[in-house]
Symmetry: C2
Subunit: 209 residues, 2 copies
């Protein structure tokens, strides 16, 4: 068999193998990460976030505390605060939510706030304006190092994911960013617009394709 044919055959086999892996879906609902300084302004210096439930990502938890966010066209309330605090405040919304506020925000990976949209945040003790604070989270595939090795995937790779098989809105997400970390477990993260477009719910299985 010539080299090219062998390469193509190997690629097909590799893809078939990956496509059999059931990847659970996790939907990113709208939420907020706060810096310590912004927490102090919104909830009062000395107050502490109170844990509501553990998140899948180790160490992070959703808090009982919520905030409101506002743009030129509207306001959304009851956005969950995620703790522990981060170096920079970051609001993550679906594009549908951002439009309802009258805001256009870029798709960005967590922490990539250059070019993020300006947003006002309201808490029980005060409000803040964050010049670069609002992003639409970029979909991505979490893998543990073991899973990455087994699938031949590393951080920064791009894969295609097929979602909603058997449902009324099957689709294929192109360019899904791979992230490998010992803190991660196999899971595709999409936002609520992407989940609703493919008619998915949390825990549904999707496939690398």
């Amino acid at each position: 068999m010539p080299d090219l044919a062998r390469e193509i055959a190997q690629d097909i086999l590799e893809r078939l193998r990956r496509s059999k892996v059931q990847v659970p879906l996790g939907i990113s609902n709208r939420h907020v990460h706060l810096s310590q300084a912004h927490w102090d302004l919104l909830f009062g210096r000395g107050s502490q976030p109170s844990k509501l439930r553990q998140l899948r990502q180790p160490g992070y938890y959703a808090c009982h505390e919520t905030v409101g966010v506002e743009g030129p066209k509207g306001r959304l309330d009851a956005l969950r605060v995620i703790a522990p605090h981060r170096p920079k405040t970051q609001v993550e919304l679906a594009r549908t939510d951002a439009f309802s506020l009258g805001l256009e925000a870029p798709v960005a990976g967590s922490g990539k706030l250059e070019g993020a949209a300006p947003v006002k945040i309201y808490g029980p003790k005060g409000s803040i304006e964050v010049a670069e604070g609002l992003i639409i989270p970029m979909r991505h595939l979490h893998l543990s190092p073991e899973e990455g090795k087994a699938l031949g995937l590393k951080t920064g790779d791009m894969v295609r994911m097929r979602a909603g098989i058997g449902g009324p809105r099957e689709l294929v997400f192109e360019d899904v960013l791979v992230r490998v970390s010992s803190e991660f477990a196999l899971e595709l993260h999409v936002d609520s617009d992407e989940a609703n477009a493919a008619w998915l719910k949390n825990g549904d299985f999707v496939h690398i394709t």
Copy 2:
């Protein structure tokens, strides 16, 4: 060339030809069609809908009049009424909107209201409860008979559509229903969740693939 190989080659050429057609996108925003009897209850017998703007689909227009819709978890206001009236009342929302009302509704083609979700509708003169009134519109490709002929497509065919090329969220919609009518012009209709998932706006070009 054996028959199978010829068939495959022809299929590839046909697909390549189709994929070069630029199909403009039309986003279905949430809206309501009313029956005459329901219009009378909501806006008052004898009143007439007042035209705001023509829609692409010949004969239909968006009205100045709007209604509110309500479910167990919330309410949405300012839903545009589309006229002329239809035999049956039909509310069309994105799944994100339906969830915000606390309602689960099926994906359905226009007029296919069996199994549609119950919904309350409010107008300036009264309110109604529609037992089977709420659907999530099924994405579909409109073609004129000439366009259908040129592309080898007829009503009921299913195609795949690639959307968002060059953007941050390219994806492929599987199972897009084809509808051919002398009242239609080439256009893919998706709802706002699907448009936002693929990072699209009205008039963007998508492709049969």
